[in-house]
């Protein structure tokens, strides 16, 4: 066993921290909101800066323009960025898309898209959910029909994060009707500017625009923008969802640690009834218990990371980690709101707001986290059925 960073990882962490000191994250212009997951806001400028350092493609094989560095450097980068509150919203999605393209992308995707991802120019939205296909994703009705060297996509996607500011959509479609419900799906990488796509914002309960819905009306997509084998997109997507749970939440632990540190600082400097909040034994215990939970969360993700690195099978580990990340985040936001009292309810920019109104934002955004990317309920069922071998409920046909 080994629970420390290797000398290489430590040296890389130093390099990242130096970069962040030289390029303070708050100076980068933002193009999409921070949805509270821990990866900050969507910022093309910040992504380009990461690209200039060579960090976006560092773990790709050399044949694809990478440096074949160990996967754990990506974890170091994510941790350091999250601890600093940097705006790297699209990063995990870009990496996942690149991995899929390297694994089974067409020549064109490899030639055109990988360099754009490496430079931090291409960012992606997911076109998976539909109005009537949420937890039951296979109920989706968006169809792609072959037309010579093109596919014509028709349908309606929803809850696509940052679709209005990202360059490409990953659109999951039905390409044939098969006896097995999970067959006949294919994935396309569709430039957001493709004619026929109408990308409309949905205002969230935070008051911000994070999600979009996308209407696809006779969208013509070249056949070589299909990602993965035709008709077997669901298998690819399932693997993608497993990795989505991992890469989409890995940075939650360091991001929560950052929030916890701010709350500790707040408790030390805020006097209530003549004594610092930090002297209240209940406050001390609750903050300390959160520190332990965040440390446990980090280790759940690192255990899953070791399995991913070693190519060991994953049945439930990322699902457990994702649910724990989201529920721990909700708990910390609740605790923060309680500690701040009436000030906790003040939004960013309000007169008298404390901690920049970040706790109110964290509280509101966290409500969506146990829903997005697989609800806590669906994932607990996954853990029980796939991880523990409990009998599945009868499937819909």
């Amino acid at each position: 066993m080994d629970f420390g960073r290797s000398p290489d990882e430590e040296a890389f962490a130093d390099e990242v921290r130096r970069f962040l000191a030289e390029h303070p994250p708050e100076r980068f212009p933002l193009d999409g909101v921070d949805a509270g997951y821990g990866s900050g806001a969507h910022s093309h400028a910040f992504m380009r800066a990461l690209g200039e350092r060579g960090w976006l493609a560092m773990c790709w094989p050399e044949a694809f323009g990478g440096q074949a560095r160990p996967m754990f450097l990506k974890l170091v980068l994510l941790e350091e960025l999250a601890l600093a509150g940097a705006p790297f919203g699209p990063l995990a999605g870009s990496w996942q898309t690149a991995d899929a393209i390297i694994a089974y992308g067409t020549e064109r995707l490899r030639r055109e898209l990988l360099p754009a991802i490496a430079r931090g120019e291409a960012t992606f939205w997911q076109g998976y959910s539909e109005p009537d296909a949420g937890s039951d994703l296979l109920a989706l009705t968006t169809e792609a029909k072959r037309d010579g060297e093109h596919w014509i996509i028709r349908g309606h996607k929803i809850w696509s994060s940052h679709a209005g500011v990202s360059t490409h959509g990953l659109v999951f479609t039905r390409t044939s009707r098969e006896a097995r419900r999970s067959r006949g799906f294919s994935m396309f990488v569709v430039p957001s500017t493709t004619p026929g796509m109408d990308i409309r914002p949905i205002r969230s309960l935070t008051g911000d625009i994070y999600h979009y819905e996308v209407f696809l009306d006779e969208v013509r997509v070249p056949a070589d923008l299909m990602l993965g084998p035709e008709g077997e997109g669901f298998v690819a997507l399932l693997n993608g969802l497993d990795s989505d749970r991992f890469w989409g939440r890995f940075y939650k632990a360091p991001a929560l640690l950052r929030v916890l540190r701010r709350l500790v600082d707040y408790a030390n400097t805020t006097v209530v009834a003549g004594a610092p909040l930090a002297r209240d034994p209940v406050v001390r215990r609750r903050l300390a218990a959160m520190a332990a939970e965040i440390a446990a969360l980090r280790l759940l993700f690192y255990r899953a990371a070791c399995l991913l690195r070693d190519g060991a099978p994953i049945t439930y580990e990322t699902a457990v980690a994702k649910v724990y990340a989201d529920e721990t985040g909700q708990k910390l936001a609740r605790l923060g709101l309680e500690l701040l009292g009436p000030w906790g309810a003040l939004r960013r920019g309000s007169r008298a707001a404390r901690l920049d109104g970040d706790i109110a934002h964290a509280y509101l955004t966290s409500l969506g986290h146990t829903i997005a990317g697989g609800t806590a309920e669906v994932l607990r069922t996954t853990v029980a059925v796939r991880g523990l071998g409990l009998p599945a409920e009868p499937k819909a046909r």
């Binding site: 066993m1 080994d2 629970f3 420390g4 960073r5 754990f72 916890l260 540190r261 500790v264 600082d265 408790a267 030390n268 610092p276 930090a278 002297r279 406050v283 001390r284 215990r285 903050l287 300390a288 218990a289 520190a291 332990a292 939970e293 440390a295 446990a296 969360l297 280790l299 759940l300 690192y302 255990r303 990371a305 070791c306 439930y316 580990e317 457990v320 649910v323 724990y324 309920e377 994932l379 607990r380 069922t381 853990v383 029980a384 059925v385 991880g387 523990l388 071998g389 409990l390 009998p391 599945a392 409920e393």
Partner: protein, 369 residues
Amino acid sequence: MDFRPSSAQQMLVATAREVLRKECPPELVQRLALDPRGFDDTLWRRLAELGWPGLLIPPEHGGSGGSLLDVILLVEEIGRAGLPGPFVTSAVAGTTAVLAAAEADARRRLLPALATGERLVTLAVLESSASFDVDAVALAGAVPGRLTGSKLFVPDAHVAHDAIVAVREQGDVSLLLLPLDRAGLARLPLDTMSGEKLFELTLDGVAVSADDRLGRAGEGRRPLAAALTAGALARTAEMVGAAQRVLELAVEHARTRVQGGRPIGGHQAIQHACADLVRDVDAARGLLYAAAWRVAEGLAAEADVAMAKAYAGEACLAVARRGHQIFGAIGYCEEHPLHLLHKRIHAASLDFGDTPLHLETVARAIGLA
């Protein structure tokens, strides 16, 4: 980062699991739970033959020179099997105190018999404050002189040969190693809900001399802290092992218990409960291994150990309680193993510092004023 035990550790765990499956079956655990002595001499000798009591002891004193991480993996299996007895008390905490405190001749005198399991030591630290904070030690110890007072919650004193007694000398803490049959010492049993063998140790003018010292006068703080750290981690491992067993039993029950024509584990209410058991056990285990690794590597680990113990105290107890709900009425029976595992977890959560004590350590470590 690497979560895999070494091949030697894997072998230790596999052997432990097999031996305990054969020689410490649930029936034996049941019998010992109802037995006033709660100690099986034959089984203890068997474990001693395997070298378990000597795991932490260097080879030159008859042990195998293992790390605390090795011991933690072994104790996890002990917790999983529900093996009662003085292993953590003597072979982990007591032995760690001796290793950390004793000077050369005392090491030569004490360690070989500890390594073979022939000699058992217990720790007498707590007093009426019931706090494992070293500063709470108040029993006045004039050496040479006579000791009068009492120590509380002393584990396994009925089978131990000696007690490591923490006393206060001129404002500091000293350790004494007292044979439990010395005149003036009495062991009064406490009746615990877990069946753990705890005692009040009363000292009525017990004569002590410089020969009884374990380490130098006023230098007991460091070895005691080392013993408490090792004990806290071992008790955490016991909780994690016991919670793992609850998880295994609960999942098996959910798979096989049929009501209304289908296994209860086919219902989401039970599935989600089982998913939470996995989360709690895995999360507690991660903190345990990381903390034990840091101790074994000689890195600063005070906050890590405190987090691991505090976390397991909450999470493993939650596993036990949820387990009762999954098992329904059968889990309420004395003959069912669930309550023994539950009670063991509870006892372990109190030993070597309860959750509030460890959370206070964490609170300071994260910078709360």
